[in-house]
Amino acid sequence: MNPEAKKTLRRLVIAVPLMFAFGFALVPLYNVFCEVTGINGKVFQSDNAEKLVIEDGRPLGLQFISTNNENMPWTFKPSEDVMTISTGKYYTATFYVKNTTNKTMTAQAVPSVAPSNAAAHLKKLECFCFEQQELKPGEDALLPVRLLVSDELPENIENIILSYTIFDVTEYDDEAVAQHMHEEHHEMEH
C-alpha cells in the first residue's frame, strides 16, 4: 500500500473510536443542553432565588401530579391537588408518602414540569426529589418541596403542572446512583 493510502487509512481508523466516544459524549451534552435551555421539564436546585422575590406578582395556578412507576407499591399523593400562587413568592407544598409493604424500601422521585418552557422559571430551594427516601414497613411521611416561580415566566402561561414519578430504587441503592443524582442537581446552581 502506498504511503498516501496509509495516511487515509490512519485517519479513518482514528475517526471510528472518536465517533464512538462522541456517542457517549452526547449524554453529558444532552444534559448540559437541557440545563442551559431549560427544556425537557428538568428542574434543578437553586440556592439564591432571593433576588427573584417580589411583592406584586401575578396569580398563577400550580397543579401537582403524582405517579407511581411500574409496580411501585407505595402510597404517593400531593396534600393539595391545586394551589393558587403568585409569582415571586415562596411556597411550600407537601406530598404524602407511605410504605405499604412489609419491607424497608428506598424510593427516588423524579420531577417534570409542564409546559416545558416553565421549567427554567420554577426555582426549588428544597425538594424531596433531591434525595432518596428510605421508609420502614408501614412508615409514612410528608415530603416538602419549597419553591418559587419567577416573574419572568412567559406571560401566556397561567398554569404550571409539577409532576413527580416515584421509582423503587431499593435495588439500585448504591453510591454511584446517589452520587449521580447529587451531581446532577448541583450542576445547576445559578
Binding site: 475517526a15 471510528v16 449524554v27 444532552y30 427544556i39 446512583v177
Partner: protein
Amino acid sequence: MSAVIENHHDDHHHGPAKGLTRWLYTTNHKDIGTLYLWFSFAMFLIGGAMALVIRAELFQPGMQIVEPEFYNQMITLHGLIMIFGGVMPAFVGLANWLVPMMIGAPDMALPRMNNLSFWILPFAFFILLSSLFMDGGAPNFGWTFYAPLSTTYAPPSVTFFIFSVHIMGASSIMGAINVVVTIMNMRAPGVTLMKMPLFVWSWLITAYLLIAVMPVLAGAVTMMLMDIHFGTSFFNAAGGGDPVLFQHIFWFFGHPEVYIMILPAFGIVSHIIETFSRKQLFGYSSMVWAMLSIAILSFVVWAHHMFTVGLPLAAELFFMWATMLIAVPTGVKVFNWVATMFKGSLTFETPMLFAIAFVVLFTIGGLSGLMLAIVPADFQYHDTYFVVAHFHYVLVPGAIFSIMAAVYYWIPKWSGNMYDERLGKLHFWLSFIGVNVTFFPQHFIGLAGMPRRYPDYALQFADWNMVSSVGAFLFGVSQILFLFIVVKTVMGGKKATDQVWEGARGLEWTVASPAPYHTFTTPPKVD
C-alpha cells in the same frame, strides 16, 4: 470516458482457487462482492418471509395465525434483517464488484480486511436469528429498539441482539473504510474526483456517513448493555437517566442511516438512466453537490423522528425546516434524471424499467416524507401506517428496486451471460404491481388512524389490509422468479458482449464479459 486497456499481463496471475476455501479465504473484490450479494439475497428472502407472516396475520382483523408476542418478534427481526442484512450488504457487494472496475483499480485497497468484513456478517445474523429459539423469544421491541422497552422490559435475548449489532457495525465500518481508501488512493491516472462515475461518488459519501454514524450506534447499544448488566442508568429515569436521550442518540445514527440506504441507489439509477437514454447524464456536478448536501443535512434533521416526545417549539420548527430543505437537493436529482430522459433515445430493458419505477415511486415516498416533516401533521401521522407506507416506498421501490436494477444491469458483466429479457420484464411488472398494491393502501389506513406495530386492528381497516396482504404475497412470490432468473443467467444464456449495452459508458464496460478474475492490474489510460 474512454480507455485503452492492456490486458496481456495475465501470464503470472492465477485464477480463482478451487472448492469451498476459495470463498472462505478469498481476497478478490469480485468474489467478495458475489458473497455479499448472495448473502443479502438470502437475508432478503428470510426477512421477506417474516414480512409475509406479518401480512398473513393482518389479512383479517382478529388474531389468526401467530401469538402477539411472536408478531412483535417478527416486526423487529423483519426490520433489522432487511436493513442490516438485506439492503446494506447488497450495496457493499455492489461496491466491491464495481468500485475497483469503475476507477480502474486492480482490487480494493485492503483485501484481507475485505474478507474479514464479509465473513463476520453471517455470524452476526446467526446470533440474531438464533434468538428466536431462546427462552423469552427474539427481540420484540421494534427495529428502533427504544429504551426502556429494549432495556428494562426486554427479553433476555437482548444481549445477543446487542452483540450482533456490534458485529454488523464492525463489518459496515470496515467495509466503509475500505471503500474510502480505495477511492481516495487507487483511481487510475486521469480519473479525477469530478470525473468519477456517480456510483463511486455515491459510495464515497455513503462510506463517510457509515464511518461517522455506525460507531454512534455501537455506543447506543453499549449503553443499553451497561444499563442492563452493569447497573448504569443512561436511559433509566430512576437512576437519573432519560429515555428520550436514547431516541436522540439512536436517531443521530438513524437518520444518516436512511441516506446510507439510498445514496448508492442514486448512483446506480443515474448510470442506468444515462445508458438507456443514450445521452450523457444531465447535470453531473449538480448530482455530486446534491448528494453532498443531502449527506450533510442528514446530520441535522434527526429529531423529526421524535416530534411527539415534547420538543420545544423552536426545536420543532428547526427540524421541520431542515427536513424540508432536503427536498431541494433531492428535487435537483429527480429533475436531472427526468432531464436526462428528455429527448433521449429511450429503450426499456429491465434495468431501465426498474430505474424509471425507482424515480417515480421514490418520489412518492419522498413526498409523503415531506408531509411527515410538517410538525402539526406529524402529530397525527406519527406511528401510524402512513409512516409505514412512507418508509416502505423509499426502501422497497427505492433502495431494493435500485439493487434489482443494478443486478440486471451488471449481471451480464459479472456472469458473461445475458439474462432472459422476457422473464426480467415479467419480474419487473409483478414486483411493480405487487409493491404498489402492498404499500399504497397503507397510506389510506394510516391516515384513517391505524397504528403501526399491532397484530390486530379495528374493523374499518379490514378491506385495505386485505388488499395490502394480497399485494405482499404477489411481491413475495415474484422474488422467487428473481432468484430463478439470476440462477438461470449464472448457469448460461446468450453470451454478453464486452460493452453489453449500446449506450453504456465507463471503465467496467471496457473489460471482457465475464469480467476476468483480475482486472486493471496495470492502470488503464483515461482521457
